[in-house]
Amino acid sequence: MSFSVTEASGRTKWIAGILVVGYALITIAPLVWIIATGFKSGPDSIAYPPKVVFEPSLEGYVNLFTDRTRATEDMLEEAGPPETWYDQIARDQGTIITGPSRYGERFLNSVIIGFGSTALCMLLGTAAAYAFSRFRVPLKDDLMFFILSTRMMPPIAVAIPIFLMFRQLGLNDTHLGMILLYTAVNLSLSVWLLKGFIDEIPVEYEEAALIDGYTRFQAFYKVVLPQAATGIASTAIFCLIFAWNEYAFAVLLTSGTAQTAPPFIPTIIGTSGKDWPAVAAGATLFLVPVMVFTILLRKHLLRGITFGAVRK
């Protein structure tokens, strides 16, 4: 019987395939359930036994984006017949729409703060990582350790001091404050990750560019940056996911203007009973930007662009 070290046997491949599919199902199941719940009606969402097949409804999404009140006979009479499809959905639940909800605003806050801090983090992180990688920085190793140590305590431990500082600086509940905070938290991660990526880029490329008549800065952005694209893309995804999902700081430091979606979504439960379809709809929409961002950057993640240009 032939035996190969590198080529798996047929049976091994089958077992591996089953394991991978099994793992994928376990990972995807909660996600699918949340997305499905977003399209269920209120009673269907809490039905027992759980309903796998159900009649789809936009109730959750309508409830997510609107504030409603329980309708009395007088109110219905005053309002007249429903004017739009979402009016109709609200009426079917015995409620009447009183105005738009805050979800849109909160979602926009998340976008501004998440992407803003990610961009700032990439800008500062790439510059710092490049300096740490290429220049003789005094006490380099100590500084790198110190940078990482900012992540060694739980966020909640520093939340109160940050709250006090932010109050002094007028940064409480502002977009700028949250962007700065998430940038500070993420910067350690991004400097460490990016330094690793930049260390991998042979310094000869920059030297070649210097010899070819370019300045150090030109060499950095024309030669190093394109090759660090893979690293920058994956680091950006990590930073965005953290800033996007962050809950503890957001719940403590924002309440109104700069509140992000994570602390807002749980409040939906409270406003009109346990409105699970609306919560699920909010969570589903909340997933979209990170997913889109990851898919857009996916080709950078997979591309080994330095392959073969330098022999090691």
């Binding site: 070649a208 210097l210 010899i211 073969g308």
Partner: protein, 365 residues
């Protein structure tokens, strides 16, 4: 094209001194080899000439202008890296034209220039290929193309053949030398391969531990090494060293090794104590009538010649003789040294003693 002058150049990295104090001159149009074992400071010296490292002290003149503290981009030189360092995100054309773009040359002119260089190097057909899939030889040619496209004052090459397979090396070394002769450009070439240095170089600097050991044309360096290190580093097999206790007076032309008297070039220096007699394997003949005796330990067959290793009272001696000479393992025979070719070394610093034969070479070494 330009003359390059290095004066008392020194480079320290923290407490480590990479280059002690180098002084030498590279004439306009020369193919100049920086030769030495790894860690000897040859690459650091080259990088200082190129402006990739700044010297701790000393001056570097390119074309009469002191450039020691200037950045690489202002020196108008080209550098070929051992690993080629082709920009991986550009194709061949992009790589070759990159130095021209930095000068702001109009694109029509860039195109013409790149085509001309590609023609010289025989890579016109791969101009639009990505650099990733190229063979070692083609990558080397692209790296050369990027260097020559700009007509710089000098070319610096850091072991450019080091990353190539053996079959390409030979070819590329010929191509490189031909390219140099055609362009007549001052070229400084770093290598640890003494054969490469002897083959290609007009002049050679031999470095060791950050010190310039010797500087001159290949034949002088081979025939009249200034130090034991040079004698050992150059030549394969290297020079034989016979350590002995003895003396040589100024004007004398023989030394005593044990019972044997051995003729040497007439000495200018006088010295007594621990000395070393250096003789190249091809300057020893096996002659049963000779007074200096050795026992045959081994033979290596090399085609037209063979290397015979003999054990003598002063250590092993390798002798290069025609393959047709009969040699019996274990037999004792006489060794006759060619008196005109012998170098004596003092044992403290391993420096060659000056004789009438090597005075001309050591005089400006």
């Amino acid at each position: 094209m330009a003359q390059i002058r290095i004066e008392n150049v020194r480079k320290e990295f923290g407490s480590f001194t990479a280059v002690q104090s180098s002084t030498f001159t590279i004439e306009d149009g020369e193919f100049f080899m920086l030769l030495g074992p790894s860690g000897c400071g040859k690459t650091t010296t080259l990088r200082m000439m190129a402006g990739l490292e700044l010297p701790t002290s000393g001056q570097i003149y390119i074309d009469g202008e002191e450039v020691g503290q200037k950045p690489a981009s202002q020196r108008d030189i080209a550098f070929v890296f051992q690993m080629f360092a082709l920009y991986p995100h550009m194709n061949v054309r992009g790589n070759i034209s990159y130095p021209l773009k930095s000068q702001g040359m109009p694109s029509a002119q860039v195109k013409a220039k790149v085509a001309e260089v590609a023609e010289i190097l025989g890579i016109s057909d791969i101009l639009d290929r990505p650099v990733g899939g190229l063979s070692g030889g083609d990558r080397q040619r692209v790296a050369l193309g990027r260097a020559i496209v700009r007509d710089p004052k000098a070319f610096f090459m850091d072991e450019p053949l080091g990353a190539l397979d053996a079959e390409f090396r030979e070819r590329m070394s010929e191509e490189l030398r031909a390219l140099h002769d055609r362009m007549n450009a001052t070229t400084v070439y770093v290598t640890h391969d003494q054969l490469e240095a002897m083959q290609m170089g007009d002049k050679i600097v031999v470095m060791n531990h950050g010190v310039v050991e010797q500087f001159g044309v290949p034949q002088d360096i081979y025939d009249w090494p200034a130090t034991r290190f040079v004698a050992q580093f150059i030549g394969s097999p290297p020079m034989n060293f016979l350590d002995f206790e003895g003396m040589i007076g100024a004007g004398q032309d023989e030394v005593r090794l044990g019972d044997a008297t051995i003729g040497v070039p007439r000495s200018v220096d006088g010295r007594a104590g621990k000395l070393t007699l250096g003789v190249r394997p091809e300057h020893v003949r096996l002659d049963d009538s000779a007074a200096y005796r050795g026992r045959v330990l081994a033979t290596e067959y090399l085609g037209t010649t063979q290397i015979v290793t003999l054990e003598t009272a002063h250590g092993a001696v390798k002798v290069r003789v025609p393959s047709s000479d009969p040699v019996t393992l274990g037999a004792t025979t006489g060794l006759r040294f060619d008196a005109r070719t012998i170098t004596l070394f003092e044992n403290d610093h391993g420096r060659a003693l000056t004789s009438e034969a090597n005075r001309r070479v050591l005089g400006h070494g």
